[in-house]
Symmetry: C2
């Protein structure tokens, strides 16, 4: 595989993420929206990626990654998430500060570098947000990230992310002193409205079903 441009890599990665939502085919417009570009630009790039056999593309039909495109995409995601681990674990970055930097680092070309980095980090299988890190062959461990609302009474977990990152929701979390890394224990679940009684460092709090369905946690 000859080296790709940054732009090509960004398209592959975006299609990869959109494919997990729409496995039957990803539309031109959805790619344009996600990448904040125009549909016409997407069409041009899809033709190019198609000629390189990284995507299977038929006009007006949406697009899917080929096997080799999928592998390339996974390697980019692997790099992104390994760098995030490095930034958080060794350079003291917070979860919400690492994305833009990892977005740049994911394009660094060197297999040796990424293998050594993975070793250095202890071959982690998930990033600081609880998302899985593909291994060098592209294998992905089952994600251990789940919604707070999926926990059973008595289970403990740590907060690893949010589904909806609207500023109202983040402000709410702030007020409840819930942030990345906060440990949460489910004390009780109300059958009536599915609201949860949870224990945080803060003390005991009640959160609605809606809140619990927007907060990602990882058991352990």
């Amino acid at each position: 595989m000859k080296p790709m441009t940054f732009s090509e890599e960004n398209y592959l990665k975006t299609i990869y993420h959109l494919m997990s939502l729409h496995p039957e085919g990803v539309s031109t417009n959805s790619i344009a929206d996600k990448m904040e570009t125009k549909a016409s630009s997407v069409t041009d790039m899809l033709k190019k990626l198609s000629e390189k056999n990284l995507v299977s593309y038929k006009r007006y039909q949406g697009v899917l990654l080929t096997d080799s495109g999928l592998h390339e995409a996974k390697m980019i995601v692997r790099k992104h998430r390994l760098w995030e681990v490095f930034l958080v674990e060794h350079l003291d970055f917070k979860w919400d500060e690492v994305h833009d930097i990892a977005e740049q680092l994911e394009h660094i070309q060197s297999e040796k570098l990424i293998d050594r980095l993975a070793d250095f980090l202890g071959n982690p299988t998930q990033d600081p947000h609880g998302d899985p890190i593909p291994d060098a062959d592209g294998k992905i461990a089952k994600t251990e990230k789940q919604l707070l609302s999926e926990l059973k009474v008595g289970e403990k977990a740590i907060c690893v992310g949010v589904k909806d990152s609207s500023s109202e929701f983040l402000k709410y979390l702030d007020k409840q002193q819930i942030s990345l890394g906060t440990t949460i224990e489910v004390l009780e679940k109300e059958d009536f409205d599915q609201s949860l009684h949870i224990r945080t460092k803060q003390g005991e709090v009640v959160v609605s079903q809606k809140i619990a369905g927007n907060l990602f946690v990882r058991k352990g």
Copy 2:
């Protein structure tokens, strides 16, 4: 300073290095040679950098970095060398493997990242080749790299690089079991031909003035 393109950064860095050889002005052709591009491309870029006040350029007159161009160049060199330290000290790379990767990493944009990285590495003042690392303000400690031929009898130093990296010279070093990191002690200097008797892990060896003038070492 708004972000620069990779290409702009590479030009600044090249001009910076050439300026240490030709402080009175750097010629268009020398830049083209070093960057393996054409003189006409260089001219175009010099105009662009000049408009951004990063170089002072008058046609047919060669070019020099302005104060702000110099600062930018130093920050790129700082990043390059810090990443080299990281690769060698934490990811077990050898001195001769790090250049191409650092060449990519030097373009990552984040002041916070580079400050944190420097802290993580213990704020080193020189890279694995013995070249100085500018601090966040652009200050550069006196280089501690010198030629083996400059050492006095009795002094010890470690090998940090070569001046001429022709394969004959590298093969010679290999045969003498001298490599990056090898400790060398000067035992005796022949007045007649300036050849040196040195001690390495290998034992006692005699090297000519020519060899000693091609090998960089760092005292300590």
